[in-house]
Amino acid sequence: MKDKYWDSVITPKVPLIDLRLQEVLNYRDLLYMFVKRDIAQFYKQTVLGPLWFFIQPLLTTIVFTVVFGGMVGIKTDGIPPMLFYLAGITFWNFFSESLNKCATVYKDHQHVFGKVYFPRMVVPLSIVATNMLKLCVQFLLFIVVYIIFIFKGMPIEINGIALLFPILILLTGALGLGLGLMVTAATTKYRDLNFLVTFGVQLIMYITPIIYPLSKVPEKYQIFALINPLTGIVETFKYGFLGGETVFSWMYLLYSTVSTIICLLIGINFFNRTERNFIDVI
């Protein structure tokens, strides 16, 4: 029988899946403060300030457009290369930054974690929330460029699938979070994994249609891109806003959704199992 008298009972046992949403909710102000801190520290003491949120992806897009669109000459499904790369990069940055930062949560915060208790999950959630904010700002950039291209005579191909945008953001964030949690939990025990993460993230980028369109991938290689849950998400986004010859299928999206949820649950379980004692081994 559970004793209602106690507010909290600390035992060594950890339940299989325990989101402890209530606890995280109690610390929502801390989540807010972490997001504020991360945003502020991004541009404090810079001359251009928050403008860097736009400049970064814009520069990458220009480089990609020149190198892959111009020099290498990769076809972009009949979509203006600038928009094609901008769309891909916006999503990719969101995903990879969430993953990379979540993957080092324990290492980066061991000092705070070693001294005071709060639900550890607040930190990875704040990382994803920060990056989500950045993504929304960068999405505005995408819209501006989009409108410029329409004025320049690009046919409007936006369709109903574009309405899935909020869901796509959530899925991308959840995928980055889930993978990041798995990695950070595993690295507390097996440090070696740290070296594999950089490589792994690079690998995911190659099997995601960011710099190339999925439709141009030879059939026998498509499987590599399609086992990647991110592919379905990115392709859905491009299809919704840009149309062209982008490959869209509800099956891909469903696969992305299911695998993202599984990923997230495994990640949370790993994280919960290690958050108690990682401070002893890190």
């Binding site: 106690w6 009972v9 403060m33 025990k189 004692n277």
Partner: protein, 433 residues
């Protein structure tokens, strides 16, 4: 209805892996798994032994805490004492949920705030105001609570002018004051405080201790870890003595301190009443420190009124100027006095010839019963270079069996730190018939 505790620790143990590990984890994990598959005991877990860091163990697993049981009631101020490595800080960490127990359970009623460190999470790029909010929310306050206390926090820290300056521009003293101000405005039911809090200048320490006294007067519960037995005695009502990760004693703070001081762990080398040191290369160093009676006999226990002498031998290698030799006497961890050989003998501050010196210091006869420790120091006058220092090098016990003629109940523990024999001189009085 009987009173229920607000912290209850039940059979709690905590296992630590010591030594080098990390890269070898995979192989030991595989070994563990292989033992499990064959239905054998975990080869690593069974070897856990008690945590006595002085004796080398066979295993790299050690019980930092073993079978800890205790209850804390509302309004209690509990002092955790024990020598370094006894598990005090680990226990505080487990209580504050920073790390989990290996077995057993801890039940807590009410909001817990832990002050294991001042200024956790302070970010140098953020302004004072932003850091107040960040630190406050990390410690478990809501933004609304912080906002309502902002003025009072700023006031307490005295940083109003710099509120919107990044804390990296603060002096370290200002940062610490601000951080402590935030922590001091927490209003938890249970406060866990580590002694690291008391790092800082004397004034700041006083402020910390004062604030904690205030908190305890408000009826809140405090668990306090400290090596400063004086502040433990002042602040706490109850005490828990940890020894090698186990609860060796719990009870009133006086009893606990008594047990701690009587045990041979009180200070790492202060158990004896006489200690000799090897010769060293240094300019000046101690050779022997001892406690003896008027006949030059070294012994651990003395009676009130008995002559007690501290016998020092020290060596000076080269002709030295400006050396002073000092001795501090502490009773139950609290300093009674500090004396230098130059206090009444100005000539000594001049030249001292090389060679061995032997001195005897007569202790005054007003010492109260208790456990005393002697610390000695040789340093240079003027530039404060310490040549040799022995902290709590020797100890002795002073017992007082003299029964007060009138008020027998007070004979042992009158208030105050000394027991002088005071003359009451009657100047005028009525003559009895």
């Amino acid at each position: 209805m009987s009173r229920r505790p607000i912290i209850s620790v039940e059979d709690m143990s905590k296992l630590y892996q010591i030594g080098q590990f990390g890269t070898g984890a995979l192989s030991s994990d595989l070994k563990r798994w292989w033992y499990k598959v064959r239905g054998k005991d975990d080869p690593f877990l069974v070897m856990g032994e008690t945590n006595d860091r002085a004796t080398g163990g066979n295993s790299n697993l050690v019980w930092a805490l073993k079978d800890i049981n205790f209850d804390v009631y509302e309004g209690d101020v509990v002092g955790l004492v024990g020598k370094n490595g006894a598990g005090k800080s680990t226990l505080l960490k487990v209580l504050s949920k920073v790390t989990g127990p290996t077995t057993g359970a801890i039940k807590i009623k009410g909001r817990v705030a832990s002050m294991l460190e001042v200024g956790t999470g302070f970010h140098p790029e953020l302004t004072g105001r932003e850091n107040i909010f960040l630190n406050g929310t990390i410690l478990g306050m809501t933004r609304k609570e912080v906002a309502s206390k902002l003025d009072s926090i700023v006031d307490f820290a005295g940083v109003a002018r710099y509120l919107d300056t990044p804390t990296k521009r603060y002096s370290s003293g200002m940062t610490v004051r601000l951080a402590f101000a935030v922590a001091a405005h927490l209003e938890p039911e249970i406060l866990l405080v580590d002694e690291v809090l008391a790092v800082g200048d004397a004034e700041f320490q006083k402020k910390c201790i004062g604030k904690m006294g205030e908190v305890s007067n408000e009826g809140r519960t405090i668990v306090f870890v400290s090596h400063n037995l004086g502040s433990v005695k002042r602040l706490c009502k109850r005490g828990i003595l940890l020894r090698n990760g186990q609860v060796a004693f719990q009870g009133s703070v006086d009893e606990t301190l008594e047990k701690y001081l009587n045990s041979n762990e009180w200070s790492d080398n202060g158990q004896q009443n006489k200690i000799t040191y090897k010769e060293k290369e240094s300019l000046a160093h101690f050779l022997e420190i001892g406690v003896e009676n008027g006949h030059g006999e070294s012994k651990p226990n003395y009676r009130y009124g008995e002559k007690i002498q501290i016998a020092l031998k020290y060596n000076i290698r080269d002709e030295a100027r400006n050396l002073i030799v000092g001795m501090t006497l502490k009773r139950n961890g609290e300093t009674i006095f500090l004396t230098y050989d130059t206090d009444d003998n100005e000539e000594l501050t001049g030249k001292r010839m090389p060679g061995e010196y032997s001195v005897k210091i007569n202790l005054p006869n007003f010492l109260k019963a208790g456990i005393y420790t002697v610390s000695t120091i040789i340093k240079e006058h003027g530039n404060y270079i310490t040549r040799d220092e022995k902290i709590d090098a020797v100890k002795f016990t002073l017992e007082d069996f003299n029964v007060d003629t009138v008020n027998k109940s007070f004979h042992l523990d009158k208030p105050g730190i000394i027991k002088p024999s005071i003359q009451w001189q009657f100047v005028d009085y009525p003559v009895t018939v």
